[in-house]
């Protein structure tokens, strides 16, 4: 297959996932996942642990391989080709549950690493971009510190800024607030809401239902490796169609 072969599809659709199947050994983790994401759309994925929600978004930038089905990101098909994988990773930013900042580098170095080494930008320009995004996540004064000197909430905001420095088209969030102390969740969610308001295409795996109601265009509920239901947040939370979603909602909302 030729590299970066554009596949004719609506330009509106930035991510097209068709019949995606994945196995860990014999274990069938993802079963026929079909999902199309439009440019600028904000999607929240929720579901019990082990339901395959993280695995699904990790397939999008190929942190996970899949065995069957197709995945197209910004017109580039994900195949076993380093060029295609790199092309897709340039378009997709990711934020992790445990931040995954590089502990041996300063905050500024964490942010400039990608622009300098991947995009081959001059150091001064990379630092300018980095400071711009640090200001956006409201911690420019921490630029010369090391990640270990920051609070969890600050680290996660740095991680978001690090992704944004690569000017991605799509942002993936893999439970960005699950590892945070309750007092720090809001500062991270605020940054995410701001990002959503600016029109970023976002896929968020999260259990923050307030956030989902506020920004999501669509909420997807997964269980046992399948998409069980998807709908607007109001419909999904107020009018669950399946018993599985009803059970899930009753467990996360009733206390």
């Amino acid at each position: 297959m030729s590299t970066e072969s554009k596949i004719a599809d609506s330009v509106e659709d930035t991510i097209i996932i068709k019949d995606l199947n994945k196995w860990y050994g014999d274990f069938h983790v993802l079963k026929d996942i079909n999902l199309t994401v439009k440019k600028g759309e904000k999607i929240v994925i929720c579901g019990p642990s082990g339901s395959g929600k993280s695995t699904t978004i990790r397939c999008i930038n190929r942190l996970e391989e899949f065995q069957r089905g197709s995945l197209i990101v910004n017109g580039v098909e994900m195949v076993e080709d380093v060029k295609n994988i790199e092309a897709i990773r340039r378009e997709v930013g990711m934020v992790f549950q445990h931040f995954n900042l590089f502990p041996h580098l300063t905050i500024l170095e964490n942010l400039t690493l990608g622009p300098i080494w991947v995009q081959k930008k001059p150091k001064a320009e990379a630092e300018e971009i980095a400071m711009k995004y640090l200001e956006r996540v409201k911690i420019p004064e921490q630029a010369d510190k090391f990640p270990g000197q920051l609070s969890g909430g600050q680290q996660q905001r740095v991680a978001i800024a690090r992704s944004l420095c690569m000017s991605p088209q799509i942002m993936l969030f893999d439970e960005p607030t699950s590892a945070l102390d309750p007092e720090m969740i809001k500062e991270v969610l605020d940054v995410m809401v701001e990002l959503a308001d600016e029109g970023m295409t976002m896929l968020c795996v999260t259990h923050e239902m307030g956030f989902a109601k506020k920004v999501a265009d669509r909420v997807i509920f997964m269980d046992a490796g399948e998409i069980v239901e998807q709908n607007t947040p109001e419909e999904l939370f107020n009018n669950p169609q399946t018993d599985r979603l009803q059970l899930f909602l009753s467990q996360i909302l009733d206390h």
Partner: protein, 374 residues
């Protein structure tokens, strides 16, 4: 929700911290907990103390009180205790082998350079520590060889036959571990690789050099290695031994590095991938610096082992410090039975160096525990 709170809340003041109660600190409390916590424990403590009281005065008497310190030759050794005159008279050979006396500054210069580079690698600011110290370390062995050999620098040529003594142990060990460093890193990467060929070659190499005793390796180096060189080339004996030490060391260090790799959370790889870094960028910029950091205590421990193993070089006739001692003991002018003094002396200098490195390692370990972790 927020607007239902009271408008004038009570101010919360944290309580002042208080000192720990006396019964848990101080020397008496320490002894009670550590030496006399139970009857068998107390008996054991007393038994050990009695044993020490029995032996230590004799040792101190032999080493310091009845010992002879002044004199220049065998005739001075008339006391009952140790005759340190023997060690004093041979000290230059013990440290520098047969290196010409007026050229000894070159050995000292090499040792000083080694010391300076080591100190720099621990004290430079973190932001460019690796960038500066790694290249310095990598050129150091070759600079030292040039200084000691002399031909390249226009100094008087000193043949490797004359290199020797404790300085040779130190420099051989250092030169071996430094060159082994990049190799062992590659072996460790190979062993973790997804490519079956790279992985099996690495496993075979690592396990061979870990599995074969170092003495056997030295024999192979001095007898077998010449067979692999082109006919007519005469590779220096020290170089051959150096190659053996490098291989031996890189086998061990590859395993140290593998442990280091396993200590790096998978999230670091994923974050590097998600930014779009390539394999070598990811490995060199993100993973390697962290691996070196977490492996440092184990690298030092491995170095201590290698350093002690350099005395085995005597088996193939290299005049390192123990070989020099044996030569001194069989010298007809010193047939007074100075073996104990000699071995105590060699033991003490090795112990001081190794203990120093252990202290350094545990220091680093403590720092690792508290410093910026993710």
């Amino acid at each position: 929700m927020a607007n239902t709170f009271k408008s004038d809340p009570i101010e919360f003041k944290p309580a002042v911290a208080q000192p720990a109660p006396d019964s848990t600190v101080g020397i008496v409390a320490w002894m009670r907990v550590n030496l006399f916590s139970s009857i068998p424990n107390a008996m054991f403590t007393i038994f050990i103390m009695l044993g020490l009281a029995n032996f230590i005065p004799g040792i101190i008497d032999w080493m310091f009180i009845s010992s002879t310190w002044s004199g220049v030759n065998q005739d001075a050794c008339v006391g009952d205790g140790a005759c340190w005159v023997f060690v004093k008279a041979w000290s230059q050979q013990f440290f520098y082998g047969s290196y010409a006396t007026d050229q000894i500054w070159r050995v000292n210069l090499s040792l000083i350079l080694l010391f300076v580079v080591i100190v720099l690698s621990f004290t430079l600011p973190a932001s460019y520590r690796l960038k500066v110290s790694v290249p310095l370390f990598l050129v150091l062995p070759f600079v030292c060889i040039a200084i000691l050999d002399g031909r390249l620098l226009g100094l008087e040529h000193v043949n490797t036959d004359f290199w020797g003594g404790f300085s040779l142990n130190v420099l051989m060990a250092a030169a071996a571990i430094i060159v082994a460093f990049p190799f062992s890193f590659l072996w460790a990467l190979g062993r973790r690789s997804d490519m079956p060929l790279a992985r099996s070659i690495s496993v075979v190499f690592i396990e061979f050099f870990r599995g074969v005793p170092v003495l056997a390796l030295f024999f192979m180096g001095s007898v077998m290695l010449p067979l692999f060189f082109a006919e007519g080339t005469n590779v220096d004996k020290l170089v051959r031994v150096w190659i053996v030490l490098i291989f031996f060391m890189s086998g061990y260090m590859a395993e140290v590095f593998r442990g280091g790799f396993q200590a790096i959370p998978s999230g670091q790889y994923e974050a590097a991938d998600s930014i779009g870094l390539g394999y070598w960028q990811k490995t060199l910029l993100i993973i390697l610096p962290q691996v070196i950091k977490v492996s440092m205590p184990n690298i030092l421990a491995t170095f201590v082992m290698l350093f002690k193993n350099t005395v085995f070089l005597l088996i193939i006739g290299i005049p390192e410090v123990l070989q020099t001692l044996l030569t001194a003991l069989s010298n007809s002018n010193w047939l007074g039975g100075h073996a104990i003094e000699g071995y105590v002396f060699v033991g003490v200098i090795f112990w001081v160096c190794c203990f120093g490195m252990s202290m350094l390692a545990s220091n680093i370990e403590k720092k690792l525990d508290t410093s910026h972790r993710n």
